[in-house]
Subunit: 237 residues, 4 copies
């Protein structure tokens, strides 16, 4: 019987990129006539104008590729972003899934308060130490039992595409994701929660962890675009 691993860590690695702020301004310049030079004709000016006027296509000129390790429940939501996103995820049919499962970190807000409204969830209560440990123990036990059954079925020769049915959506899976700056901003707008956002969102905690790591890479690689996006209330153009 295999020992399972439980973890709260969700990782995002930037593995490739194409272009950056300069790609956006170059794409924008092809479309418009900014001559004779004006203050707007700098990279900052052009990107600011494109963002403000919602000319979105120039932002498709810069690309990112990530390697993400996250629970299946995150992928269930992530894959719903269809446009400008490419996915290559571990297959549960072709691979034996590794016994790595998600438990929430100590500071994840988890208690559904009284008067919970589904469209406006508020998770602001933290468990006390005993409650937290109890919950983690329950989850771990359920994961371990399921993985045990999984291995038992595989040992009998049952195909992986069937045996995995018992594995919870808390199991980890790796995926390479490819996007452009525009589709990334659309993702971030919906999958982060921020006071300053013009259109606030209430994402699942775990997908926000992924989004925040994406956002850090985005801010670092495309500072001008990132600043314009934040200034505009975090709305994708």
């Amino acid at each position: 019987m295999t020992e399972i691993v439980i973890t709260s860590e969700i990782t995002v690695e930037l593995i490739d990129t194409m272009g950056g702020d300069k790609s956006v301004s170059r794409a924008a310049w092809v479309r418009k006539d900014f001559t004779p030079p004006t203050p707007k004709s700098t990279t900052e000016g052009v990107i600011g104008t494109m963002m403000e006027k919602r000319h979105g296509t120039p932002f498709e000129a810069a690309c990112f590729q990530f390697h993400v390790h996250a629970p299946i429940k995150v992928w269930r939501e992530h894959h719903r972003h269809r446009i400008g996103w490419s996915y290559n995820e571990e297959s549960g049919r072709y691979k034996t899934l590794e016994p790595v499962f998600y438990v929430p970190p100590r500071d994840r807000p988890i208690i559904r308060p009284e008067g919970f409204k589904s469209m406006n969830p508020k998770f602001n209560t933290i468990l006390d130490d005993g409650e937290y440990e109890g919950m983690v123990r329950e989850m771990k036990e359920a994961y371990a039992d399921a993985y045990n059954t999984y291995e038992l079925l595989l040992a009998k020769g049952v195909d992986r595409g069937l045996a995995r049915d018992v594995l919870g959506v808390g199991i980890y899976s790796s995926c390479i994701t490819t996007c452009n700056a525009r589709s990334l901003m659309a993702f971030l707008e919906l999958r982060t929660t921020e006071e300053t956002a013009k259109r606030p969102s209430k994402p699942l905690y775990e997908i926000e962890v992924v989004a925040r790591k994406y956002e850090a890479f985005f801010a670092e690689r495309m500072p001008v675009t990132y600043a314009a996006w934040v200034r505009g209330g975090r709305m994708a153009p």
Copy 2:
């Protein structure tokens, strides 16, 4: 402790449509000059020519909407069809998931034979009665334990988006899917296995169940397009 339901039934209901073969030929006629009338200028002729020459856009002129009840593992694959597909699936964050879980039907080929090759899976061995019953018992037990933990966590006030992590991908979920005849053919090409297909595919058994039910509705509603697609080796234009 809630009694769970296990079932092998996967259902597809056709809930709405737009147009059909006539929509395809009308769309094709806008594009081309088929006058003066020739044998090709009938609906059959036009659709046959469009299919053969891979003019795909006229097939986007007819739409289908389905209500599908299937295990999450099916949705995991289905949602990867990004283009020409719209999805509205039950949310595990906003709803308490019902205790309905998948077990394979008696005649599903399940034993991974010796020499299994991941990219060319062959599932032709059937379990004997005792083996089948043993497997179902194992799966049911794992599902029931997981659902028990799920309810326990919910009872403590843990939010649904976290508690569901222990639930296996064999749990059922409902989804309304919307597509057009072109995106439907692309789905069927990949998600059915057929001797006569020019580009054979090896889909997961359970997604093929969905695909076959889609195919029956497609054949009934768009007989001319369907016949042309089969004749052409089941390749999406």
Copy 3:
């Protein structure tokens, strides 16, 4: 020598639909748990919530199909809407294009005022009668000369895909367009100009003519969705 036709009329005919407001609320209900019934659980309530919270996918559950007759310059912009739009347009390779050309209606604002800024165009000046007639005469003459050359080349046996190179983008072309309520709202947000819009747009006059005709059909067929969209500042969810 063929007599050309000049016209200012741009037509949109609704030729098919799938579903409407009820399709949106049905799709939304699959996703969420609105029971026990609350004020929000009416069609109005559900659609309002979906729009406000930017849950966009339920709006993909209703479809529209139009037959549009418009100048090529309109298609040049329209075809840039890639997602959730299908097109079947007259082919200039397979058909001999008809001699129908666009001239602006008497009340189209046309004079580029002093200090014109490309990203913030203001067209508020109207020509006087003589200027307008002069302009129309110039355009008509240019169209007629071009069409004359087109026919001359065709008569020599030059293929249509080459001979049409001389025809101006003011020539008319027919197209069947298919979309869903979500992609339609995204189009209307960008292709209409309205005081009450949260994110104002400055579309080309002629594409706004198409957009306004789309909008009238949309308002009539999906009054609840339309009202929620207007109330929310004409932003696509």
Copy 4:
């Protein structure tokens, strides 16, 4: 009166890329279990298998960006490729279009033979010298007249988005195009004509010029993928 330029040159410049064959095999490896190492586990083997089995998503992991200068009639067709393609094209509303127009090169097959069938065009007849020169003269004259009218209207203050209506689709326009290896193969499959193609296509001459230049960059940057695609009959996975 501005002197117009006529040319047969259509140019494609590769301005940026992300990844290549290695990106494809890395994306494929995430999905499948190719261990223990087999002949298939090399980059060649993995890419060959992905192509043959039509696992298309790994090919979305490598990107290309081009700067293309081509007549508007080419853009009319190119923009119809909606998925996996981003465009930033010169605007006829915001820029005054330059007086550069297309005429066919001497060796372009142009005569529509007797018995021309629209869905199966054959262009194998070449004009004699006198005919060719006559045709070019006609085209140039039509272009020059139209451009003259364009400038006249602009001089009167007519906005560019209206004045350009008289300009033929043979006028040149610049566009930055961004795609991935999968969407590029889909483009090449439809926009080149090749004896060895499993599904032959009859593209417009001028778009094939663009496609062939894309193809050369593709072959150079991704030799393993390119070879597998050619071997498989030039069908996009």
